[in-house]
């Protein structure tokens, strides 16, 4: 019996080594991505949830976190989809500024009503189909009442740096939703990117606080 269990342990150990060696670096990569999302969540909670912040201050702090942790440029291009190519350089430039403004205006002040929720990271999934290293960090926002909310962070590693490229809440991708909206605005505006820029200008002007 002892012999059998020793063999068993040895085989298990060998298999384990084999699995670990077959995928060098992934364990680190997985831990890194997890830590990256963890750090972002902690920073967001400590910097954005203070109830005494003015709307403008909160937007400003959010903008800094956004630039540090998200691939805003890539997200902006992706949200414009096939219309990126037909946009003039000037349109591209103004669109990217407005895209960032829209994200700030949409999400920054949601942190004001923070009620002590926690972010638990539940899983890290690797996407081997893509050439770039793209990783899905799955998490849950745990609330005192009701069910936890599932939030998936799509993290890409372009030049060594981790950057978030999409956030998926309960199966709803922020980028996919944004892209379908933008595409709809442009299509209804006769295929002109300018029609979207006008909409974005009006929308961000009405949403962003004046003190920016």
């Amino acid at each position: 019996m002892i012999g059998a269990s020793r063999i068993c342990a040895a085989v298990t150990g060998a298999l384990f080594l084999l699995v670990v060696n077959a995928n060098p670096g992934w364990a680190d990569e997985s831990a890194d991505s997890q830590q990256f999302v963890r750090t972002l969540a902690d920073k967001a909670i400590s910097q954005l949830t203070d109830a005494t912040l003015s709307a403008g201050e909160r937007e400003q702090r959010f903008r800094v976190l956004l630039g540090d942790h998200f691939d805003v440029l890539g997200m902006g291009r992706s949200a414009l989809g096939r219309f990126w190519r037909i946009a003039t350089p000037d349109e591209q430039k103004e669109y990217l500024v407005l895209f960032e403004d829209l994200i700030v205006a949409t999400y920054a002040n949601r942190f004001r009503d923070y009620g002590g929720e926690n972010l638990d990271i539940t899983n890290v999934v690797k996407n081997s189909g893509s050439e770039d290293v793209a990783i899905l960090v799955q998490s849950q926002i745990v609330r005192n009442v009701a069910k936890p909310i599932r939030v998936d962070w799509r993290v890409a590693r372009a030049s060594g740096d981790h950057k978030i490229v999409d956030v998926v809440i309960e199966g709803v991708s922020m980028m996919q939703t944004q892209r379908s909206e933008f595409s709809s605005v442009i299509t209804r505006g006769g295929g002109k990117v300018a029609s979207l820029i006008d909409e974005l200008r009006a929308k961000t002007k009405s949403l962003l606080s004046r003190s920016n």
Partner: protein
Amino acid sequence: MWAVLGNGAKRIGALFLVSIMISGCASAPQDDPEALAEFKKLNDPAEPTNRAIFEFNRGADRYVIKPVTGAYRAVAPQEVRDGVHNFLQNLRAPIIFANDVMQGEPKRAGTTVARFLINTTLGIVGFGDPAASLGFESHDEDFGQTLAVWGVGEGPYVMLPIFGPSNPRDVTGKVVDFFLDPINWWASNTDNDWVPITRAVVTGVDARDQLWNVLNDLERTSVDFYAAIRSLYRQRRMDEIKNGGDADAPLPNLTGEFDDNPSPNVVAQSGK
């Protein structure tokens, strides 16, 4: 009861027909292959009609549904509204169970039975949800999802008056669920038509309450509310059909295009 459903369906059908005659269908773009591909992918051939109905729904929301739900939120504190939501959800147990079974999910079917037994008794006719803290987390199923699991496609996007975003598959699901529900059999056999009607109204107010912040934020921040709702509805339904297991969803690469053949593997599982 069948008469109630029949009238409702006839009325919706008539409204629908009229609005289709008024606004017609969107024409597919002919010159641009990319635009044509996108048009097919959106699968919203009746978009002008759907947008007209959507505007009607926004009016109904602004003048009736939202004020009623707002009043409900004002008089009933969160705990009471949670209780009502739990109660309505508990009433759905037979439907959820039937669909769990039809989708070949015996474990989830078992969870549904356990939840119903625990919450109907310990949870005081379903107002409480002690089952969740005993490890039987809630989940929802409907016949639209069952059809999807069976491989039925969703069909074109449809905006229903009052009921909101849907598609032929989910409309069929709603009708089948109605006829599957033992509460509706009982109401029909005992001439208690007011029961399904009241339940439908309360369920509607509860649904609007549950979506209060989401819809308010989205309406305020979206540049095309209709397109946002269309995208959201489809993504949510896809997620519900897959029971939240979306690890095989395509990840975008850095150019923002979606990969056609992603093969993600679950590699690390943190202890939770």
